[in-house]
Point group: C2
Chain length 189, copies 2
């Protein structure tokens, strides 16, 4: 059931860093993005894969982690992602990726969950820093980074409290809580 996969696909930010995600796995995941819809079928998305510790260490410092957790600087050593898929917009094809990167990223993460992996779409990126780390040509815009690995945290969905606060938080057992709007709140007609 797709609902099961979508429900299990939470945004994970703590991983067993020793778990290796193979290049073949990353290519299979990108293939799911490739087979997904693209506005006017332009397919402007290009992908950079990383799954070795040296490359990963160059990418990690350019990412901003969990903005609402002000007392947490992101995953410590040992819990950092084992792999990244970096989504680029190819300006030689189109100046905009529309919402193609959202479509492709969801396909990729659902594929990751099916493989007992997990990850997080990260849009809060220090793009200049990452461009430099990747030695990336101006031809490409950085649009999204998907962090991947074997999750070592529990993430649960809660109803939104009466104050309407949507900020995720962690309880004393380090379980990550994500308040989600109800179906009745989001369907307006």
């Amino acid at each position: 059931m797709i609902k099961d996969l979508i429900s299990r696909n939470r945004s994970y930010r703590r991983f067993d860093e020793s778990f290796v995600v193979s290049t073949e796995t990353l290519r299979e995941l990108v293939d799911l993005g490739r087979l997904s819809p693209s506005g006017a079928n332009r397919q402007p998305l290009k992908y950079i894969l990383s799954n070795d510790p040296e490359n990963n260490a160059r990418i990690f410092p350019a990412l901003n982690w969990a903005g609402y957790l002000s007392d947490w600087d992101g995953p410590p050593e040992g819990e950092q992602p084992s792999a990244y898929i970096i989504l680029l917009g190819d300006n030689d094809i189109s100046q905009s990726t529309g919402c193609d990167h959202g479509i492709a990223a969801q396909s990729i993460l659902l594929g990751a969950v099916e493989k007992e992996l997990g990850g997080c779409m990260i849009a809060s990126i220090q793009k200049g820093k990452l461009r430099e780390a990747l030695n990336l040509s101006e031809r490409y815009d950085i649009v999204l980074v998907i962090a991947l690995g074997k999750p070592v945290e529990t993430v649960v969905i809660d109803p939104i409290a009466t104050d309407g606060d949507i900020k995720y938080w962690r309880d004393e057992q380090a379980t990550h809580h994500v308040p989600k709007r109800s179906l009745d709140e989001i369907i307006i007609e």
Copy 2:
């Protein structure tokens, strides 16, 4: 296998219009969007559902169909969508939906395919006309329309020809062909 669902999820534009998509089905599909990732967990997406002929007839003329098929004005009567899910951005929550609508729309369409339905994400919308048809408040931006129904066309993926043309086309049997870039073309490192 998620790859099977993603592969079967092609953009369908011709439907058995007599096939009824229930409100319950539409709500189940929106729930898949609800459970999908949202940038900074803001969840600015709101949804309007339509599955009755009168409402559908108000929505249809505001949509632009298959831009590359210059000799086709969109599905004729009898082959129009049975239902629509309209994705809105709630400006009271956020001025931008980021790529949330892409993420949610992919979840919704994968759910539709699992239910033996199909559809098309439509971003080429006459927004003023649709706003008027829906009597929609300025609080909401129209970001995407998902057309849904029981597909009555065959859509196939082809490799891109040597001329690099990505425009979809229909052959003499009315099979819809979609050229997709290869995995080696889209992975740049």
